[in-house]
Symmetry: C2
Subunit: 280 residues, 2 copies
């Protein structure tokens, strides 16, 4: 089977690295507007060659669409236009509402499977791709009732090869939940980074005084703006709700500190401690 | 040398575990209002016996004060009252302004060294203590011009045995910097935890959908309210300044998302990315 990887970054690259162990893969063709990413992906043996959508997609058994989500929405219909009889197209983006809406009336809608593997790091680009990224992770499938059984079987095989467990979810439900458990974390980290950079003009203090706690809390501030800007934009309503709630909690917390509401503060911290039970 | 550990938790316990490798230590006496912590510390061989301040401190060569910072401020003068001729007292708390102010006029001020090792985890209690916690970490000394050379030498030896590098800093400066690079991170995590717990009534969603990014950002929400409440309270002015600035950044970020200010958003995210260069 020929694979076409559109968007040769960390997520797509990591997928291909693991899929290459599968017997059925004959060739991986990379497509990217960033020529450096293509060259690097060739060097790293992530892809075997590079090409263009119109040339590569018709002969593909599987197209993995792993571009920033604004690009995915822009090009998904053209990709579906170019598919051959046996081509299945899956995306791996962090928002699902807009891409599902973009393809809803496409004549090849059934060839498309909307998916989102819950995995990644703060790094980006093909040089950050690594084996095993998706092992024992969850991947979400959205609106799969519009995908053919043939397409779904292929995508099931992909995630099975990666070691991920699939869960079905509506696109709107997906975007609402992810606003809270992922997009909000990224924004809290980006703004924590900005706050500390602004105040600690003496950068050396950040480096010297930051413990592992700060490192961990701010880590996502290192994430790619090219990837995250479009996610925030596509999911702005749910993110606004999450951010309003977060800002409200911060304001209440601040006021409890300032006004010496020690018991109320302890109650809230104990309540937050519950995250340990849920995550572990 | 006899060590008295007041506050048998994770920080004090980890210190003693490493100091036990030193030839000069003869006995470690634990003091804690929590009897379970004393029993556990005995079981784990962190302490050899337990006692009370009035009985144990006069014969101590070194008192490590590792209680929550409100307790430290409350008892530091009594501890100094009880010191013998050769006793040195060091605290290890995360705020330095109030404890330095509490001892400023004490007749044994010179026996006290205010310190803060920049190390810890979200766990607490003696069972969370472990060897090597302070290795290759920074520890801050505050207002050490008021400590005797004898006391300072002893505390230098302690941190040298732990593998930490000492840096001198004013108490006010310490609290201002730590508000940004530590206390703010804890509040951002506590409130992120509260926000997600409030909205995701279905706890299973948090567990299923949370990637490593959320885990990392929310980790500090698991921290002990007994330890952190008093830190927030003692450093409330600097924390208010930090939180006001954080809330301002979050509000601006939210408005940029909602109003499609994509370029401005990208500029801010790129600026936040700079935290990578500074931390690595």
């Amino acid at each position: 089977m020929n694979i076409v990887l559109i968007g040769c970054g960390m997520i797509g690259g990591s997928m291909v690295i693991d899929l290459r162990h599968s017997d059925t893969i004959t060739q991986v063709t990379g497509i990217d507007i960033n020529e450096d990413h293509l060259k690097k992906s060739l060097e790293l043996n992530i892809i075997d060659r590079y090409s263009e959508i119109d040339d590569a997609v018709p002969d593909a058994g599987l197209v993995i669409l792993a571009t920033p989500v604004d690009v995915s929405v822009e090009i998904i219909c053209h990709i579906l236009d170019c598919t051959g009889e046996k081509t299945v197209v899956m995306d791996v983006g962090s928002t699902k509402g807009m891409i599902c809406a973009a393809v809803v009336n496409h004549r090849h809608r059934q060839k498309f499977v909307a998916s989102h593997p819950i995995a990644g790091t703060e790094d980006s680009g093909p040089e950050s791709a690594f084996a095993g990224l998706f092992k024992n992770k969850i991947a979400l499938l959205c609106e799969s009732k519009h995908s053919s059984e043939y397409a779904l079987n292929r995508v099931h095989d992909v995630y099975s090869a990666l070691g991920s467990t699939l869960i079905e979810m509506g696109a709107g439900e997906h975007d609402r939940h992810l606003a809270y458990v992922s997009h909000l974390s990224h924004i809290s980290a980006f703004t924590l980074g900005l706050t500390v950079l602004d105040i600690e003009k003496n950068e050396q203090n950040i480096n010297l005084l930051a413990g592992s706690g700060f490192d961990s809390t701010v880590r996502l501030a290192m994430s790619s703006p090219n990837m995250w800007g479009p996610i925030f934009s596509q999911n702005k309503q749910d993110i606004k709700t999450a951010l309003d709630e977060y800002i409200r909690h911060l304001t209440v917390f601040r006021d409890m500190i300032v006004n010496d509401k020690k018991e109320e503060l302890a109650v809230q911290m104990l309540r937050a401690n519950d995250i340990r039970r849920i995550l572990k």
